[in-house]
């Protein structure tokens, strides 16, 4: 042990880069959330909590505050959509993961590759594909009208449903992988044992496979919920103005809105929320892992 480079020395370049260009910027974000907006973007002194106040309130002409739920609703929509994305991905992904895990070993790698391949495709391209499908002149509406089922294009885009479809499409592989990792270790003899003890196929799945898949689903939810919460492209391209999520709100505060403190306040709020969620989830996972 005496002659080896120390862990701190080996990790110091990573520590420096992530410290200076990730941790410090997060600190700057926190600091900016407590400043006053400059008229042309950026922020200046004096210190102010205006950025946070604006999340819940707007100012009347006479400068009095009144409660405005607009941004709160966007926050809630983000949480609900990210949560639904996790749940739907888990529900869709569990049978897929189980199917792959129960194939012969030589097939598993190929099947996993097939399921995860779309994840390699650029996320802009992946999201754009759904624009081609869902828009008024998109393939689905053209097909429906061509078949004479509808005369007017159905409003498939620019709503929460479109955003949800896009999010699930983007995050499904992230859910399949960890569930597969959990089920891969499942010994088929456990199911034989369940059948031997008079379980039906359905009950064997519910009592043996499902409980063993739960840790995988929890890991998957960690990988889906947090990134989905702040996802930008999908709500931007598919949701439009009617299905804004917090990522769009932050982006517009820093670009067209020119209200950096407000955007920084939202960022700080989201980051704090996500980190608290992750810490709690990791805690719970650890507690349940140690019986």
């Amino acid at each position: 042990m005496t002659q080896r480079a120390s862990p701190l020395l080996l990790t110091s370049p990573a520590l420096a880069v992530i410290g200076v260009f990730m941790l410090v910027p997060l600190g700057y974000g926190l600091a900016y959330s407590l400043l006053t907006a400059s008229p042309y973007g950026g922020a200046e002194l004096p210190l102010s909590t205006e950025g946070y106040v604006q999340i819940l309130f707007q100012r009347d002409f006479d400068d009095s505050l009144y409660f405005s739920p607009t941004y709160l609703l966007i926050l809630l929509r983000s949480i609900v959509l990210a949560g639904l994305t996790s749940v739907i991905s888990a529900a869709l992904g569990l049978p897929v993961a189980w199917f792959i895990a129960s194939r012969p070993a030589r097939w598993q790698g190929a099947l996993l590759f097939v399921v995860t391949l779309p994840f390699w495709v650029n996320s802009l391209v992946r999201t754009y594909c759904w624009v081609l499908l869902l828009r008024d002149q998109g393939l689905i509406n053209m097909a429906l009208q061509g078949a004479g089922l509808t005369h007017e294009p159905l409003p498939l885009m620019y709503n929460d449903g479109a955003t949800l479809v896009g999010l699930v499409y983007n995050f499904l592989p992230f859910m399949v992988l960890p569930i597969y990792a959990a089920l891969e270790r499942l010994d088929p003899r456990l199911i034989e044992a369940a059948h031997d003890l008079y379980a039906t196929r359905r009950r064997a799945f519910l009592r043996i496979v499902l409980p063993l898949a739960v840790p995988g689903m929890r890991a998957g939810a960690l990988m889906v919920f947090a990134p989905a919460l702040g996802y930008f492209l999908v709500p931007d391209l598919l949701g439009g103005g009617r299905s804004l999520m917090i990522g769009n709100l932050i982006q517009s505060a820093f670009t067209s809105g020119r209200n950096w403190p407000f955007g920084a306040a939202l960022s700080t709020l989201v980051t704090a929320g996500v980190l608290v969620f992750l810490v709690i989830a990791a805690r719970r996972g650890r507690v349940e892992a140690t019986p």
Binding site: V17, I18, F21, L23, P25, Y28, V115, W120, L132
Partner: protein
Amino acid sequence: MKRAYDPTHSPGLGAYVALIILFLYAPLAVLTVYSFNGGNLVTVWNGASLRWFEAVIANGDIQDAALNSFIIAGSATVLATLIAIPAALGLERASRRLGVALGSLFALPLLVPEIVTAVTTLVFFASIKLRLGLANLVIAHTVFCIPFAMMPIRARVRGMGETLENAARDLYAPPLAVFRRITLPLLAPAIWSGAILAFVVSLDDFVISALVGDAGTTTLPVYVYGMIRRGITPEVNAASTLMLVFSLILAGLGRSLSRRRSRR
């Protein structure tokens, strides 16, 4: 004929998985087919043609954006990999506490929502008045590439254990020779996987490049996003399809590398 007993058999599961695979691939297939449309309108089929691919390849702005993307992705990948190799070794050698603390810190770029990383980096660069053009984006990309470059290396270091390195030390190899002759060759496939992953993730990025970059540093996704915003055209389809094909090539490369590793 009655099926032989198979504990893992579930009726209908295969069909369900086929449907999911259809869900995953059909949109990509639709895009690809659209991009071969020779007409000027996206929705009216006017015979198969490579015309829009030619237009994309001849488009100087797209060429510039693609070049920017490759410069950024290439530089960020090299930097992130060089940083990730020692970091992965250090993390696995660290005490439990230190390992968990540093591991969580290095995972930060994965945990913090992308949009937050983008705006805080923007704020930071603006505050310290760092205006290095492409280099600004290289720095930002290196940060979020590090965890991706590190993941496969860490897994490999953990799987390798210390025994082989100990065996080399026992056979009179000084520390540098242990690293060069044993550690590095054994990590090589994982280093390549990590590098490919980092490269793909860097090419994939839109949000950070869009917010942190300026007029001269437009990357391919940022440019194509602008095209989409201006209107759905056959040229967008062709550009998207080219990006799709390139991603698939990288994915295939990554898979063949990981297969070679698993054969070891």
